[in-house]
């Protein structure tokens, strides 16, 4: 097990470095520097600014400085567009919001998707199974950017129950629609994956043995079938996490919730490279860390994994 952990961590670190170097090079290869404007700055001023931000140093030196800044003090540098803000400020402001509704969406997707899939598999070919299958097919074509406007039409314009956007400190009313819009398609996928793996497990020999020795059905399902049936779902959690983070762009844009998504999109439209980079590095490292945890959980549950 320890070997496996070391191996996986060993893979995660170079991945992170490659991500940073790759996005740094991409950013650097873009035409025009960050201070290129319609009215060119006097060369002396430009040289001073570049010296201040360390842009006059050779490329490899810049990359090392950047990585060193992240490692030692988690400093992602200043924003090139908003002179009064650093990337850290932007993250401090937006990230808690993203984590809050994103986390709820994640909990919602797993907390409803998994039980739905299990019940559908246990009660195969009953109405609840048909409902689960129908739901998972239907929701597969309802990604967040389709759900969001539809929810606003129904709950804001027709029923008038919920505000159509805003954050307001993240109270219940402002959270409902972002969480539902973000989680629906993942909930459906999780339900579908859980159902099919549960069905497969329930048809396997060791479950027949468990039933044959007279265990009550709930013990068969909870003690024996549940653990192996969860494996495919667990390996789906990594992609689902990435999907929810990227989906938050759309939520932030549409509901005006003010998470990091809106900053990322604005930075992309304004070519604010350091913000794009910083957010990419942040989310990239989160994703890699999350995938690492998922892999370790997977290895811990599944005895077939070779270390």
């Amino acid at each position: 097990m320890l070997n496996y952990v070391i191996k996986r961590v060993g893979l995660a670190i170079p991945t992170m470095l490659i991500l940073i170097v790759f996005s740094f090079l991409l950013m650097h290869s873009a035409p025009g520097g960050p201070f290129t404007s319609e009215r060119p700055l006097p060369p002396q001023v430009l040289a001073n600014i570049e010296a201040k931000y360390g842009l006059n140093q050779p490329l490899w030196r810049q990359i090392i400085n950047y990585i060193w800044g992240i490692l030692t003090e988690f400093d992602l540098g200043p924003s090139f567009r908003y002179k009064d803000r650093t990337v850290n400020d932007i993250i401090e402001q937006g990230f808690p919001i993203t984590i809050k509704y994103g986390g709820w969406a994640f909990i919602f997707a797993v907390g409803i998707g998994v039980p739905l899939g299990i019940i559908a598999a246990v009660r195969q070919n009953t109405w609840i199974d048909y409902f689960a299958v129908g739901f998972s097919i239907g929701a597969a074509v309802l990604p967040n950017f389709v759900m969001a406007p539809l929810l606003v039409i129904v709950f804001t314009l027709w029923l008038g129950w919920l505000p159509g956007g805003g954050w307001n400190g993240g109270d219940f009313q402002h959270m409902v629609m972002p969480v539902i819009a973000l989680s629906t398609s993942y909930m459906a996928s999780i339900a579908r994956i859980t159902r099919s793996s549960m069905l497969e497990v329930l048809n396997s020999n060791f479950i027949r043995t468990a039933r044959a020795k007279g265990l009550p059905e709930h013990v068969v399902i909870l003690r024996h079938a549940l653990k192996p049936a969860m494996l495919p779902m667990i390996s789906y959690l990594g992609p689902a996490f990435v999907g929810i983070i990227t989906g938050s762009f759309i939520i932030d844009l549409y509901f005006g919730t003010g998470g990091i998504g809106i900053h990322f999109v604005n930075a992309a439209l304004n070519r604010d490279y350091s913000v794009i980079m910083g957010l990419t590095v942040l989310v990239g490292s989160l994703t890699i860390a999350f995938n690492l945890i998922v892999d370790l959980i997977y290895a811990w549950i599944d005895p077939k994994i070779r270390y």
Binding site: I18, M27, A30, I137, V141, P149, V152, V242, F249, V265
Partner: protein, 310 residues
């Protein structure tokens, strides 16, 4: 009775002589038969064909082009821009007074071509990469797959947006960037399949007769991978359309005056507060219907070509 049998036997003998009694059922004939039995999949093929046809024939029925602005409607889109046959705006107008019918046709073309081109790029790169890694094996395989592992750990959407920002937001860039990111899964699947195929006797026979490695890959390995590739490619197309749409929804994908389903949904979603729901619902209907069709077709293909997986 006996005479009848004799006639039959004679017929059979003739047929055998003409070599068409023993028409073998190939894998693909079998697969087609299984696919045709899947009602949802065949219906989806039909609906999807209609949508594709509509994107080609539709313009001939359009009263307005996708660039014309109906000045009569502008400023009072909510009242005058509604879908109607009287003024020729079958799907109404968008918030700038352009004919939504023509815009939807334009968007359909672009979204579908992003889906197909992106999937094609991904399939070609992924298949070759996976087949080479699997066939060569050893250190090379380890190294190639480690690269895939690393690339897979990077959140694709971010890199995609980064690339669009750096290299400019054009449709061509979108095609390339989406295709470049989507081949990873494909290469893993293909590699796994290749590993099992390369030890089969016919590959050994090819090697024994001195066929070059590159030829074995393209002539013997890849054709045998087609089943799996087709199934995953059919799931890639809606995946590509989804990615393109969400990027366009963010305003980072297809740029005006060009459009796509995602961009149209985004425009429609911005204006729902002004009683112009049709601007959202028409592109949405096309998007959702096509995605449904793609998923059912993918399902049908999986049942037809890969029956053990399920």
């Amino acid at each position: 009775m006996l005479v009848l049998n004799k006639v039959k036997i004679q017929e059979m003998a003739d047929n055998i002589a003409e070599m068409d009694a023993v028409k073998g059922r190939s894998l693909w004939t079998d697969a087609r038969r299984r696919f045709m039995q899947n009602k949802a999949a065949t219906a989806s093929v039909f609906v999807l064909t209609l949508i594709v046809l509509f994107s080609f024939i539709g313009p001939y029925f359009a009263v307005w082009t996708n660039e014309q602005i109906d000045w009569a409607v502008l400023g009072r889109v909510a009242e005058l821009g509604q879908p109607s046959f009287a003024n020729g705006h079958f799907f109404g107008t968008d918030s700038l007074g352009r004919d939504l019918y023509s815009r939807v046709i334009q968007g359909t073309r672009i979204s579908l071509s992003v889906g197909f081109v992106g999937a094609t790029v991904a399939v070609i790169i992924g298949t070759l990469y996976g087949a080479i890694a699997g066939y060569v094996g050893g250190r090379v395989d380890q190294f190639m797959m480690r690269i895939v592992d690393i690339l897979m750990a990077i959140p694709g959407m971010f890199v995609l947006i980064l690339m669009l920002v750096v290299f400019g937001r054009s449709i061509l860039m979108l095609f390339i960037a989406i295709g470049l990111l989507a081949w990873l899964d494909m290469s893993r699947i293909v590699r796994g399949q290749t590993l099992s195929i390369k030890n089969k006797e016919f590959v050994e026979a090819a090697r024994a007769t001195g066929v070059k490695n590159s030829k074995i890959i393209t002539r013997h390995i890849v054709p045998n991978l087609l089943g799996v590739v087709v199934v995953y490619a059919s799931l890639l197309v809606p995946g590509m359309i989804l990615i393109e749409s969400s990027i366009s929804f963010l305003g980072l994908g297809v740029q005006e005056p060009s459009t796509s389903w995602g961009a149209l949904i985004s425009d429609g979603a911005k204006t729902i507060r002004y009683d112009t729901e049709w601007q959202l619902l028409f592109p949405l209907a096309f998007f959702v219907t096509s995605l449904f069709c793609f998923y059912f077709i993918g399902d049908g293909l999986r049942d037809a070509l890969d029956p053990k997986d399920r």
